[in-house]
Amino acid sequence: MKTRRYVAGGIAILASLVVFVVPFVFILLTAGKGRAEANQLEFTWPTDWQLWENVVEVWNTRDGMFLTAMINSVILTVASVSGMVVLGAMVGYVLQRRKGWWTPVANVLILAGLIIPPAVVPTIWVMQGLGIYKTLPGLVMIEIAFGLAFTVLLIRAFVANIPRELDEAALIDGAGPLRLFFQVVFPLLRSVIITVVVVQSVFVFNDFQNPLYFLPGNENATVQLTLFNFQSQFNQMRNLLFTDILLITIPPLLMYMFFNRRIVAGLTSGAIKG
């Protein structure tokens, strides 16, 4: 029995090595190569390590576009995910607790947000009309709008697990609606909120299409757009492309390393309620 458990554990570790570590090592190796060697896309040790030269070159490409892009991406991710969490929690809570004739309508709208793909040109017209086209706040709103439906669905399902008696107790103790939500309900949503933060920040940080169309301009670039500096039909600079990927991977990796325990704790604390 015990040996079998060890074997299973060993297989799991091996599998996760293959799935997660091997691609990362491949990125690292390719990022350390010269241009001609990197373009062969082979899993080999670089004949001549040029990682630092490549990093410097990526950093300097287009007058330091990378740094601007990194700052933009971080602002975008933090702002949109906070917006999604606060708004999504409010909507999910109200939808679950206060049912009325409009509940089915709201449900249809939320489902529509999930199912129907966004149209680019009409959206730009709306943004131009509001004067938020080509602005970071404009793109934050776009990301919130596109991510909100999923967030609301998650949170609404979770709120169903919170006993109504808690709300009533708070109300009897004299809490107003705002206080009830922010001080009683919101902390209880912690585990689902952590899920939302993880899922949506990966989504927003990796988003390519929305920044491409809704936030044009060099000073507005996000990190995913910098990848296109190094990849095209006729010219390929895979060493720089992979260096760029490596640099882009660092912030999510850092975030995950620092918050790893909280993320896992958050996910499991939700699981116990059943």
Binding site: R62, I116, V120, W125, F228
Partner: protein, 443 residues
């Protein structure tokens, strides 16, 4: 939210002519800022270009040279991706009235898809256009208007070959298709891959060269074929000379002349094979010379070029590709300054700035431009065709009709899945849809 999303359509479908017109009409008031500034006083221009290395360095060279002479003009280059994403960006920004003062885009059939008459500024009346060659003007003309100023070099579509392999085996540059095949058989006997094909990831576009690069021979056999093709009077499947391009692909596969791993070889792999001599001949645009120069500078002298041979040894000519161009969108704020910049691009000084920035891979489309003496051999071979006048533009610069699935069809023929005749018929079907979308007469 619902009302906006219900109108949602896939982006690819938006680029139709009708919507483009509507969009501009609807949005012309939205931009409202400063009025036309005269050329004096500081002006800031923005140019939207694709983010490839070659484009960026070329444009940066032009911009640096121009701003050195005109210190009151500042020019910013804005990047966009290449390929279909880039096409969508250009269409979206034209439709929303958000295009910068100038933009870089392909000439020929891709330009026609932008509905230039409704979206771009006509340059036919400008004096600087006199220096642009007529060959190029034909590729940027729509209706009465001429819309673009060429940037970069002319390209040839043909076969890049390894000169060392040819020397070792004592082969001559082929003048007919039969010679080409017998050369290839000899190379195969020597244990070298005779013809490189690359149908791997992101490289399927390379499969089209035998068909698209054969247009000089089609034109030689059937003069004016492009017009008949546009008018739906001639097709690939019912014109023997046009179908030959597909047949050639089939023949190469059946005789086993392709590298064994053609299904997974990528464009980059193929260039490596060619430059290092493990493959002898690669049907490609001469543009690839700059990539060889960047990756295999030591082998640059080993690579030569010849046009795709036809049936007639006395008439050997090359199919050419036009370079990209700069266009001015309608409704821009700095139109006068943008035109002055174009005047510089269309001058010999402009060519020199480009040569200095990126070198040359072929002649310029601007009168009075000289090429440096130390050209790579493949570019010298290309230049020889231009000097002899034996060139003809590729079909996509003569006709707005170009089917979207050609590369899938040529991959199928080159892999032995379809015959050449089937491939030609499939492409005729593919073209039909596109021509109907464009609303051409006779379809």
């Amino acid at each position: 939210m619902l009302s906006r999303k219900i109108r949602a359509r896939r982006l690819g479908a938006v680029g139709t002519v009708a919507i483009a017109g509507l969009a501009l009409a609807g949005c012309s008031g939205g931009g409202g800022a400063t009025d036309d500034e005269s050329a004096s006083g500081p002006v800031e221009l923005t140019i939207l270009i694709d983010s490839t290395e070659a484009t960026v360095s070329t444009m940066q060279g032009l911009v640096d040279a121009y701003t050195a002479e005109n210190p009151d003009v500042t020019i910013e280059l804005e990047n966009r991706p290449q390929g279909s994403e880039g096409d969508n960006v250009v269409k979206t920004r034209l439709q929303t009235g958000d295009m910068p003062d100038l933009f870089w885009y392909n000439s020929g059939s891709l330009l026609q898809a932008l509905a230039p008459e409704q979206t771009l500024v006509d340059l036919s009346g400008e004096s600087f256009m006199d220096a642009v060659t007529d060959t190029f003007k034909a590729g940027v003309t729509a209706g009465e208007g001429v819309y673009g100023v060429p940037v970069g070099n002319a390209m040839g579509g043909g076969v890049l070959y390894n000169k060392k392999v040819y020397e070792q085996l004592g082969l001559e540059v082929p003048t007919t298709w039969a010679d080409f095949i017998s050369n290839s058989e000899a190379i195969k006997a020597a244990g070298i891959d005779p013809i490189i094909q690359s149908y791997g990831a992101d490289s399927t576009w390379t499969s089209q060269l035998f068909v698209l690069g054969d247009y000089y021979n089609v034109e030689a056999a059937d003069p004016g074929w492009a017009e008949k093709f546009t008018a739906n009077e001639a097709h690939f499947a019912d014109t023997p000379s046009a179908q030959l391009g597909f047949d050639h692909l089939q023949e190469g596969f059946e005789k086993g002349l392709y590298n064994a791993d053609f299904g997974t070889t990528t464009y980059a792999d193929a260039l490596e094979k060619l430059a290092t001599g493990t493959g002898a001949q690669y049907p490609m645009l001469t543009f690839a010379v700059s990539e060889i120069q960047a990756n295999f500078p030591d082998n640059l002298q080993d690579v030569g070029f010849f046009a795709i041979p036809g049936e007639d040894a006395s008439d050997v000519g090359m199919t050419t590709w036009l370079s990209a161009a700069l266009y001015i969108p309608q409704g821009g704020e700095n139109e006068a300054a943008a035109k002055e910049f174009l005047a510089f691009v269309a001058s010999p000084e402009g060519c020199d700035a480009q040569t200095e920035a990126v070198g040359v891979t072929g002649p310029y489309f601007i009168d009075g431009c000289d090429l440096p003496a130390d050209l790579p051999p493949a570019v010298q071979d290309l230049q020889a065709y231009f000097d002899s006048g034996k060139t003809f533009p590729a079909l996509e610069f003569l006709s707005p009709v170009k089917g979207p699935s050609l590369e899938q069809i040529t991959v199928a023929v080159g892999s032995g899945i379809n015959t050449g005749a089937e491939g030609a018929a499939l492409y005729d079907d593919d073209v039909l849809k596109q021509a109907q979308q464009l609303g051409l007469e006779g379809w």
